[in-house]
């Protein structure tokens, strides 16, 4: 069967009423959390993991993917109207978008962001559908050592290639890897680091860690900044519609943003932020109105927003075809697959094509829903921004603890939630990135399994890791991704990397 047939079959799955409903819930929730500062798609998916445990796998995965896409749309609204990016991947949008809103052009800024996201999401999802089968074929020749090398590459790019310190990125990653050791060893059944505590035998719950790090850590950090006064929300003045000139200036940046964002998301290169920065730089160089950049140029909103959504779709390529998450949200979605006993990868395309293609097709549908949700209903989302902080964060903690209690109503679990929450707060205070901890916890056991399988085949000979050309190349790239930024920072050129920090929440 060709990709088209698979995609059509997937559309049939996605068009089932229940799955449409899940997609709608997902994109609505995703937009809401994207709009609200302080919570992001990674946290939301983590919160929903225990709640969706009893639901049907296809439905909940469709919902999770909808949250991911929705978060990317919603983040732009906050950036444009509040100048506080809702998501780290919307930082660039705030540069020009907020200026546009202050000049009374908030409507066209929101419109170009939403339509750009739609165009990019559509093209990138189709790209995902056509590239995935090719990568699945490639992945079939991958053995344990190639997978291990790939995971090492993901570890490096998530933790230390970007961000402002190699040391702190690696420390975060290894704290995650250390937490991943806790519990029963999957290959031998030996208990590690559980100290006879029965609650630790199953290891640290991904949900508990993610909720603590993202929700509680962030809440404590915001609260500790003291009362900074209410944020200023720019009212949407004038027409929401784009003029002919706006269209003419937007369509090329949309396409360029898509072309930049998709491959960056698809490579294990850590986060959507990088694509948005590159797209902004490209638009700034190519524009016919350089004087407007810095004062609200529409290209500076259109390009990065498209890049942002295209890389969200791109992230699903390694996640679905290789089981390799490259962002915190993707890592938690992987945990979502695992809770149903599914392991994304080449095998899943063969054993469960209905689910995979249903998921991909539902993203196309979700994109249409998001366009409707984000253009005519924009006023509703803007109102979310006016919730006073005390009630907003009190509500966030209510739902954050609800997820953990729902999964396991034990005092021990809540104690861990509190401990990791305080840890997340301290890490923010000292400038440690959060995403590597979560990625380390989820990907750590998988990497260990592959490593030990590879070494078991070679009977303990470590050189086997570099004697396969694919693995050797991947490890070499990983080494470069570790060393080059280190040299750049030592020479005082680290500023740029700091701005690209993959601090996705």
């Amino acid at each position: 069967m060709s990709t088209f047939d698979f995609l059509l079959q997937g559309l049939l799955v996605a068009a089932q009423p229940m799955n449409l409903l899940y997609a709608l819930i997902g994109v609505t929730l995703g937009t809401a959390v994207g709009v609200l500062p302080g919570i992001g798609p990674a946290l939301t998916v983590a919160l929903l993991l225990p709640v969706t445990y009893r639901l049907d796998p296809a439905g909940s995965l469709i919902m999770f993917a909808g949250i991911y896409y929705g978060g990317m749309y919603g983040g732009s609204t906050t950036s444009i109207l509040l100048n506080t990016p809702g998501e780290s991947s919307s930082i660039v949008t705030a540069l020009e978008g907020n200026k546009m809103a202050r000049n009374g052009r908030g409507g066209p800024a929101l419109a170009t962001a939403a339509i750009g996201s739609f165009v990019a999401g559509l093209i990138a999802t189709i790209g995902l559908a056509f590239i995935a089968p090719a990568i699945v074929k490639l992945a079939l020749v991958f053995g344990p050592r190639e997978y291990f090398a790939l995971m090492v590459l993901a570890f490096v790019t998530v933790s230390s290639a970007f961000g402002d310190s190699t040391l702190r990125g690696l420390t975060s990653l290894f704290i995650g890897l250390a937490l991943a050791l806790i519990g029963i060893d999957q290959l031998t059944g030996q208990t590690r680091l559980a100290f006879e505590v029965p609650d630790l035998l199953d290891g640290i719950e991904v949900t508990t860690l993610a909720v603590a790090m993202f929700a509680i850590g962030e809440t404590l950090f915001i609260a500790a900044q003291g009362n900074t006064g209410p944020d200023k929300v720019e009212a949407v003045k004038g027409s929401l519609w784009m003029t002919a000139a706006d269209w003419a200036r937007s369509w090329k940046p949309w396409l360029r943003g898509t072309i930049i964002g998709f491959p960056i998301g698809a490579m294990p290169a850590g986060g959507a932020e990088i694509g948005t920065f590159l797209s902004y730089a490209t638009e700034k160089r190519l524009t016919k109105h350089p004087e407007e950049f810095g004062n609200g140029a529409i290209e500076g909103v259109a390009g990065p927003e498209a890049a942002n959504n295209a890389s969200a779709a791109g992230t699903l390529v390694p996640l679905l075809t290789l089981g390799l998450p490259t962002t915190a949200t993707a890592a938690i979605m992987l945990a979502g697959f695992q809770q149903y006993g599914l392991q994304p990868g080449p095998l899943l395309f063969a054993t469960n094509p209905q689910l995979v293609w249903g998921l991909i097709a539902s993203l196309l549908i979700a994109n249409f829903m998001l366009l409707v949700l984000n253009l005519p209903l924009i006023g509703l989302w803007v109102r979310l921004l006016t919730i006073p902080k005390p009630w907003l964060y009190a509500g966030i903690l209510l739902f954050a603890t609800l997820g953990t209690i729902g999964a396991n109503p034990s005092v021990f679990e809540l104690g861990m939630l509190l401990a990791f929450g305080v840890m997340g707060y301290m890490m923010r205070v000292f400038g440690y990135p959060i995403a590597p901890v979560v990625v380390g916890l989820i990907l750590g056991p998988l990497a260990e399994q592959q490593l030990r399988r590879a070494l078991a085949i070679s009977q303990g000979d470590f050189t086997v890791l570099v004697t396969s050309p694919i693995a050797a190349v991947l490890l070499a790239i990983a080494a470069l991704a570790l060393i080059v930024p280190l040299i750049l920072r030592a020479r005082g050129r680290g500023e740029v990397l700091g701005q690209l920090a993959a601090s996705e929440d």
């Binding site: 290959l187 603890t401 000292f430």
Partner: protein
């Protein structure tokens, strides 16, 4: 999520907080290493086993601790913004209260306390408003999630009224 960049490095005294972080890393490395040596004894000699990766993680953590000490003496850590202690105490206290109250007072009262404490941390100190508000809100949440979605949330005296 903050947009600020680390301030320029300047010469100052060793960063004591960073030294504490290094000490914590050493402690974690030591615990992992001890556990790994226990495992090596249990599983006997084999080149690759359950102790291989923990051993490696412990060694890297030790290396990172040394690197942190060097960074602390060179003043490489970004300057920290002043943190308000009060709000943190309110919220941590709220979470601790929820943890201790959960199985006796039930979901709504325990989480209502957390709700009010968090709002207090953000400056809404009128507990006689926020506490009842939080408890009622949590009861509604309990009715939806425990009643309709069959999530097992602990029931206390308040929830018993609806069972």
């Amino acid at each position: 999520m903050s947009l600020d960049h680390p301030n320029k490095v300047e010469q100052r005294r060793p960063d004591w907080a960073a030294l504490v972080i290094a000490a914590v890393l050493v402690a974690i490395a030591a615990v992992i290493y001890l556990d790994a040596s226990r495992l090596r004894e249990v599983t006997g000699y084999s080149p690759v086993g359950p102790a291989t990766v923990p051993g490696a993680v412990a060694v890297v953590l030790l290396g990172l601790a040394i690197w942190t000490v060097i960074a602390a003496f060179r003043g490489d850590f970004p300057e920290r913004e002043r943190q308000e202690v009060g709000p943190v105490v309110w919220i941590v206290g709220g979470l601790a209260a929820q943890m201790l109250l959960l199985n006796t007072a039930g979901f709504s009262i325990a989480t209502g306390v957390l709700f009010a404490a968090t709002a207090a941390g953000f400056g809404r100190r009128k507990l006689w408003i926020s506490l009842p508000l939080g408890i009622v809100l949590c009861l509604v949440v309990w009715l939806i999630f425990a009643g309709l979605l069959q999530l097992s949330l602990p029931a206390g005296p308040l929830e018993q009224l609806f069972l």
